[in-house]
C-alpha cells in the first residue's frame, strides 16, 4: 500500500476524477444497518452539500468518508483510488480534513495546544498558528485559554482553523451550524466559501440547507441511509423544506 505518501496524494491528477467518491457503501452500528448503499461523489474543486432530516445518516456518511467507520460493503475512493478500509489517521495524512459534528476541539487543551495536535498531518505549528490567528484574531488573544471554556462559536472557529492551517485536499464538515447564532454561521460559511475558492473540494452536511446554498455547487438529499436525489442545490432545498421539514 502506498497510503502514506505525501499528503497531497489525494489531489486530482485528472480533473474528471472525483476527489471523493462513495460507491454502494453500506455501514452498520452493530446489527443496525444505517447506510444502505450510498453513492456520492464530490468532483474536484466543488462544494457538495449533503442535506437531509435528522437520522438520515449524514454523520455516518461523513464518518465513513473520513475513515473513522468501517464499511460493510461498497467502496470508498479518493481521487479514483480505492481506499476502502483506510484508517482515519492515514486519511488525514492523505489530506482529508474532517471536522466532526459537535465541537471538533479538545476541551481540556488550550487553543494553542489544540493547534499543536492539528499538526499531526505534517504542518508546522508556526504555520497553523499564523493561519488561525490571522483569520480569527480572537483565537490569538485567547491562545492560552482552555478550549472547553470558550463560547461555541469560538470553539467552532478553532475547529475550522485546522482546515485553514493544514492545507487539505478535501474538507468534510458536519453540521457546522449546530447551536450557533445565524450571524456566526454565515461568517463561518464565508470562510468555507473562501476555502472553496482556493480550490479545496468540500463535502458539507447540513440539516438546514439555506445556510449552505450560496456556496454549494451540487446537493445530495439523504433519506433513510440512501442518497435519494442529487442535483441543483436550490431545487433540492425546495424539495427538502416542503416535503420533509414541513416548510
Amino acid at each position: 500500500m502506498t497510503l502514506t505518501q505525501p499528503h497531497d496524494a489525494v489531489r486530482p491528477r485528472r480533473s474528471e476524477e472525483p476527489v471523493l467518491e462513495l460507491v454502494g457503501v453500506r455501514a452498520a452500528y452493530g446489527a443496525i444497518e444505517v447506510l444502505k448503499g450510498v453513492d456520492l461523489s464530490v468532483p474536484a474543486g466543488t462544494v457538495c452539500a449533503l442535506l437531509g432530516p435528522n437520522g438520515g445518516g449524514k454523520t455516518t456518511t461523513m464518518r465513513v468518508a473520513s475513515g473513522l467507520m468501517p464499511t460493510t460493503a461498497g467502496e470508498v475512493r479518493y481521487s479514483g483510488r480505492n481506499v476502502t478500509g483506510i484508517t482515519a489517521g492515514e486519511a488525514a495524512r492523505l489530506g482529508v480534513c474532517s471536522i466532526p459534528e459537535g465541537r471538533g476541539v479538545f476541551a481540556n487543551l488550550t487553543v494553542r495546544e489544540n493547534l499543536w495536535v492539528a499538526t499531526g498531518t505534517g504542518t508546522s505549528l508556526a504555520e497553523i498558528e499564523e493561519a488561525a490567528y490571522t483569520r480569527f484574531p480572537k483565537l490569538g488573544e485567547r491562545r492560552h485559554q482552555l478550549a472547553g471554556s470558550m463560547s461555541g462559536g469560538e470553539q467552532q472557529m478553532l475547529a475550522l482553523s485546522r482546515a485553514l492551517g493544514t492545507d487539505p485536499a478535501v474538507l468534510l464538515l458536519d453540521e457546522l451550524s449546530m447551536g450557533l447564532a445565524p450571524m456566526i454561521v454565515s461568517s463561518m460559511y464565508d470562510i468555507v466559501g473562501a476555502l472553496a475558492a482556493e480550490g479545496i473540494s468540500i463535502l458539507v452536511a447540513e440539516q438546514f440547507a439555506r445556510v449552505v446554498l450560496p456556496i454549494a455547487d451540487t446537493a445530495a438529499l439523504m433519506l433513510g441511509g440512501r442518497i435519494v436525489q442529487v442535483g441543483d442545490p436550490a431545487e433540492i432545498e425546495d424539495e427538502l423544506s416542503t416535503t420533509y421539514l414541513g416548510g
Binding site: 446489527a31 473520513s66 489517521g89 488525514a92 466532526p100 479538545f106 476541551a107 485546522r162 433513510g224
Partner: protein, 763 residues
C-alpha cells in the same frame, strides 16, 4: 531531630510522588484507573530482588533490566492485550479488569516468591553511605529518591506542556476519534503512556522498600496504589504538580505521626498504616463536586431485568436444587457449600449496588467484618457448645453495616463512581489495618474490651425460636432460602419505581437531576441497603466459618468476589450466585482437589501444584474475557436460552436428562463431580444442541437458507416457503413493517441493539 524527620518525610513523599505520577499518567491517557499499579510496583521490586540479591547481578545492570525492559514491557503488554479493549465499557468493568490483574500479580508473586520467607532489600550504596548536612544524615539512597522524584516532576511537566506527544496524550482520553482525524494514532499514544506508567510504578517499587525498613512484602507494595491514589487526589487525578504536593504532605504526615505521637498511644503504628486511607477520606470531603456529564453514557453492557414472578420461580428452583444436591454430597462438603452461598449473599449486595445503580463497593466483605464484630459483641448468648447468636445480634450487626456504609459513602457520593470505589477500598484497608488489629483490650466509652479479642473470634450459629443453624443441613437450607428471598426482593426492587430511578441515575446522572431526583439521597439509600445485605452475608459467612480471623476479611477476598461477580454478570442475581459460589467454594474446592490429587499421586505432586497455581494466576486473564463480554457469562447463557424459546421441547428433554443423571448420582452409579460437570455441560451446550436438533424451528428463514446454501432469492423456488418469510423479506428490502405474527425466531444477539433501554432514561 525535626530536620531529620522532615527529610525522612520528604523522601517517603518523593517515592509516593513517583508512584502517583504513573497512576495519573495512565489515567489521563486511557481513562482507566489502574488498580494494579501497586501490584506492578510489587512485581518490579521482587524481580529486582531476584536479580540483585538471589542471582547476584550487578546493581546497575539489575536496575537497567527492571526499568528498561520489565517496566515498559509490562505496560505495553497490559495495554496491548487487555486495556486497549476496554473502550466504551462501563467504569465498573474497567475497574474490575485492573483488579483482576492485581489479583493475578499477587498470586504470581506468592507462587514464585513464597510469602513465608523473609526478604530484605538493601539501600542503594548501602545504609552507611551518607552525607551529613548540619547534623542531618542523608543517605545516598534517599538522595536518589529525591533526585529521581524531582527529575520526574520536571520531565513530566516538560512532556505534557512542551512536547507534542505529551499534548496528544492529554487529548487521547477526551476524544480518541478526534485524534485520529488529526492524523494521530491513539492506540500508540496509549501504549506509550502505559509503558511509562508501568516503569514509574516499578521505579517506585524498588525505591520504597528500603525506605520503609527493607522487608519486601507483597501485600504492602500492592496497596501502594492507595497511597498513590491519596496523593493523586490532591491534583484531582489530573494535575501532576499538585499530585507531588499531595505526596509530600502524605509522606511528612506519616513520618511526623510516628515521631511525635505520645508513646502510650499504642495504636499509632496501626494509624500510620491507615493514614493514607484516612487522608483519602479527608481529601474526598473537601474536593469540589464533579460536573455532571450531560449525555447518557452508551456502554457495551446490557442487562435484562426478569419479572418478579419469574424470579420467584427461579428462587424456588434454587432451594429445591440445593436440597437435592445436598443428598449427593457427604457431610464434610456441606460447609463449603454453605460458605459459597453466604458469599453469594454478599455478592447480591453488588447486584443491587453495581448492576442496578452503577456504583461500586470494592470491600463488601469488610462491611461483613463490621457486622460480624457488632453481632459478636451484642448477640452471643449461652455458654460453651450451647452458645448461640441471637436475632438481636444479627439485626444490630446488619444495622451497623448499613450505618457504616452511610458513613463511608457520604464523602464520596457527590463525586463520580470511581471515587466511591476507592473510598470503599480505603475503608477495607482501614478495617484490616486498624479495626481487626484491635486484639488487646482497650477502654471504649468507659468499657474495657477488645474489638477483636486475640485476633480470633468464635461466631456461634444463629438460633431463632425453633430454627437452629447449629444443624448443618438446616443452615444450608436457610442460607439458600435467604439468598432466594433476597434475590427476589432485589429484583422486585429493580422493577419498582425506586429501581427505575436507580437505572436512570446509572444511565444519565445529569438527566436524572433534571427530572428532579435527589441523587445523593438515592445513592446513599441504595448504598445502605447494599451494605446491609453485605453485612448479613458477612455474619452468615462468619457463622459458617465459626472461627474467624482477620485473614477471612482480607481485601483480596473482597476484590475476588467483586471480580467474579462481574464475570458472572453483575446485573444479574444469578451472576451474584455464580460469583459467590466460585469465590466462596470454587477456589477452595479447586485448590483442595489438586492438593489431594498431589498427595494421592506424589510423583505428580509438583505438576498438580503448578496447575493449581496457574489457575490462580490466570485470574489476571479474566480481564481479557471481561473486555470481550462485559455483560458477563450469565448474559450470554441467557441469550442462548432465550433463543431456545422457539423449541421448548429441547428444554423439557434437558430437564429429563438432568433428572435421570440425578437418579444415577443418587444411586451412586456416577460420582458427584461427574454429575455436576455433566449437568453444567448439558445446560451450557443446550443452545448449540438445540440448534443442531431443531434448526428449522429456531432460525429465521434466511439464516436457514444460508445453512442449506440456498440464496435468499431462491427461497420459495428451490426450497419450500417457510412461514414468516414475507416479513423477513420486507425487512431485508427495507419496506415498512406490516402487522405480522410475532415470530420468536430472531436470535437474542440480533435484538440487543434495539434494547437500548439500558442507555436511555426511563422514568
Amino acid at each position: 531531630m525535626f530536620l531529620t524527620f522532615t527529610v525522612l518525610g520528604l523522601v517517603l513523599g518523593a517515592v509516593y510522588a513517583i508512584a502517583a505520577s504513573g497512576l495519573v499518567l495512565t489515567y489521563n491517557t486511557s481513562g482507566i484507573f489502574n488498580f494494579a499499579h501497586g501490584a506492578q510496583a510489587m512485581i518490579g521490586a521482587f524481580t529486582f530482588y531476584q536479580l540483585q540479591v538471589v542471582w547476584g547481578v550487578p546493581t546497575l545492570l539489575a536496575v537497567a533490566i527492571v526499568l528498561g525492559i520489565l517496566g515498559p514491557l509490562m505496560g505495553y503488554l497490559l495495554h496491548r492485550f487487555i486495556m486497549g479493549g476496554l473502550r466504551d465499557t462501563a467504569e465498573v468493568t474497567k475497574i474490575v479488569v485492573t483488579v483482576a490483574i492485581l489479583l493475578g500479580f499477587v498470586s504470581l508473586s506468592h507462587w514464585v516468591w513464597s510469602p513465608q520467607d523473609a526478604r530484605m532489600v538493601r539501600m542503594f550504596f548501602g545504609a552507611d553511605s551518607y552525607v551529613s548536612i548540619g547534623g542531618v544524615v542523608i543517605r545516598y539512597h534517599e538522595i536518589i529518591c529525591l533526585v529521581a522524584a524531582a527529575g520526574i516532576a520536571i520531565g513530566l511537566r516538560l512532556l505534557f506542556t512542551k512536547s507534542r506527544m505529551g499534548v496528544v496524550m492529554r487529548g487521547a482520553v477526551d476524544d480518541p476519534d478526534l485524534l485520529r482525524l488529526n492524523g494521530h494514532d491513539p492506540e500508540r499514544v496509549a501504549a506509550i503512556a502505559w509503558a511509562m506508567g508501568s516503569t514509574l510504578a516499578v521505579l517506585a517499587g524498588i525505591l520504597i522498600t528500603p525506605v520503609g525498613g527493607g522487608a519486601l512484602e507483597a501485600n504492602a507494595l500492592t496497596l501502594l496504589v492507595i497511597d498513590a491514589f491519596a496523593a493523586a487526589l490532591f491534583g484531582r487525578l489530573r494535575s501532576i504538580p499538585r499530585t507531588f504536593v499531595g505526596a509530600v504532605v502524605l509522606g511528612m504526615a506519616s513520618t511526623y505521626l510516628v515521631a511525635y505521637a505520645p508513646s502510650n498511644w499504642t495504636w499509632v503504628t496501626n494509624l500510620r498504616d491507615a493514614l493514607p486511607m484516612i487522608l483519602l477520606f479527608v481529601v474526598l470531603l473537601v474536593l469540589p463536586q464533579d460536573r455532571l456529564r450531560g449525555a447518557a453514557v452508551r456502554t457495551r453492557e446490557r442487562y435484562e431485568v426478569p419479572t418478579v414472578r419469574r424470579a420467584a420461580i427461579w428462587g424456588v428452583v434454587l432451594v429445591v436444587a440445593t436440597v437435592a444436591f445436598r443428598q449427593l454430597i457427604d457431610d464434610s462438603s456441606v460447609g463449603t457449600l454453605i460458605l459459597g452461598l453466604t458469599f453469594a449473599i454478599i455478592a447480591l449486595s453488588l447486584t443491587l449496588l453495581t448492576g442496578y445503580a452503577g456504583e461500586l463497593n470494592l470491600a463488601p466483605i469488610s462491611f461483613g467484618a463490621i457486622a460480624t464484630l457488632v453481632a459478636f459483641h451484642t448477640g452471643i448468648t449461652g455458654q460453651g457448645l450451647d452458645a448461640r447468636m441471637s436475632l438481636t445480634g444479627l439485626v444490630l450487626g446488619v444495622l451497623a453495616a448499613a450505618i457504616t456504609g452511610a458513613l463511608v459513602a457520604l464523602p464520596a457520593l457527590r463525586l463520580r463512581g470511581l471515587y466511591l470505589a476507592l473510598a470503599t477500598l480505603a475503608f477495607g484497608g482501614i478495617v484490616s489495618s486498624m479495626v481487626l488489629r484491635e486484639t488487646q483490650p482497650r477502654s471504649w466509652f468507659g468499657h474495657e474490651f477488645a474489638l477483636f479479642p486475640q485476633g480470633t473470634i468464635i461466631v456461634w450459629p444463629l438460633k431463632v425460636g425453633p430454627l437452629d443453624l447449629g444443624d448443618q443441613d438446616v443452615f444450608l437450607y436457610t442460607t439458600a432460602t435467604i439468598f432466594a428471598v433476597l434475590g427476589v426482593g432485589v429484583i422486585a426492587l429493580r422493577n419498582s419505581g425506586y429501581g427505575r430511578r436507580l437505572a436512570a441515575m446509572k444511565d444519565s446522572p445529569a438527566a436524572a437531576v433534571m427530572l428532579g431526583q435527589r441523587l445523593v439521597r438515592l445513592k446513599l439509600s441504595v448504598f445502605m441497603i447494599s451494605t446491609a445485605i453485605a453485612g448479613l452475608g458477612g455474619i452468615l459467612m462468619s457463622m459458617a466459618l465459626s472461627s474467624v480471623t482477620s485473614d477471612h476479611f482480607v481485601y483480596t477476598l473482597s476484590l475476588s468476589l467483586v471480580m467474579l461477580t462481574v464475570v458472572g454478570g453483575i446485573g444479574y442475581v444469578s451472576g451474584a450466585l455464580f460469583g459467590g459460589l466460585i469465590a466462596g467454594a470454587g477456589f477452595s474446592l479447586i485448590v483442595g482437589t489438586f492438593n489431594e490429587l498431589g498427595s494421592a499421586h506424589p510423583e505428580h505432586a509438583s505438576t498438580f501444584s503448578i496447575i493449581s497455581h496457574l489457575i490462580l494466576v490466570a485470574v489476571a486473564l479474566v480481564g481479557v474475557g471481561v473486555a470481550h463480554n462485559p455483560s458477563g457469562n450469565m448474559s450470554s447463557i441467557f441469550a442462548g436460552h432465550r433463543f431456545l424459546a422457539g423449541a421448548p421441547e429441547v428444554r423439557y428433554a434437558a430437564i429429563g436428562v438432568t433428572v435421570v443423571l440425578y437418579g444415577l448420582a443418587y444411586a451412586g452409579v456416577i460420582g458427584t463431580w461427574t454429575f455436576g460437570i455433566l449437568v453444567a455441560v448439558l445446560w451450557m451446550a443446550l443452545p448449540a444442541l438445540g440448534l443442531w436438533l431443531r434448526a428449522e424451528r429456531l432460525l429465521p428463514p434466511e439464516a436457514l437458507a444460508a445453512r442449506r446454501g440456498v440464496p435468499l432469492e431462491l427461497v420459495g423456488v428451490d426450497v419450500p416457503y417457510p412461514d414468516g418469510f414475507g416479513g423477513q423479506l420486507d425487512r431485508t428490502l427495507g419496506l415498512p413493517a406490516r402487522a405480522r405474527r410475532a415470530t420468536p425466531t430472531i436470535p437474542a444477539q440480533a435484538q440487543a441493539p434495539s434494547e437500548e433501554g439500558e442507555s436511555h432514561v426511563r422514568v
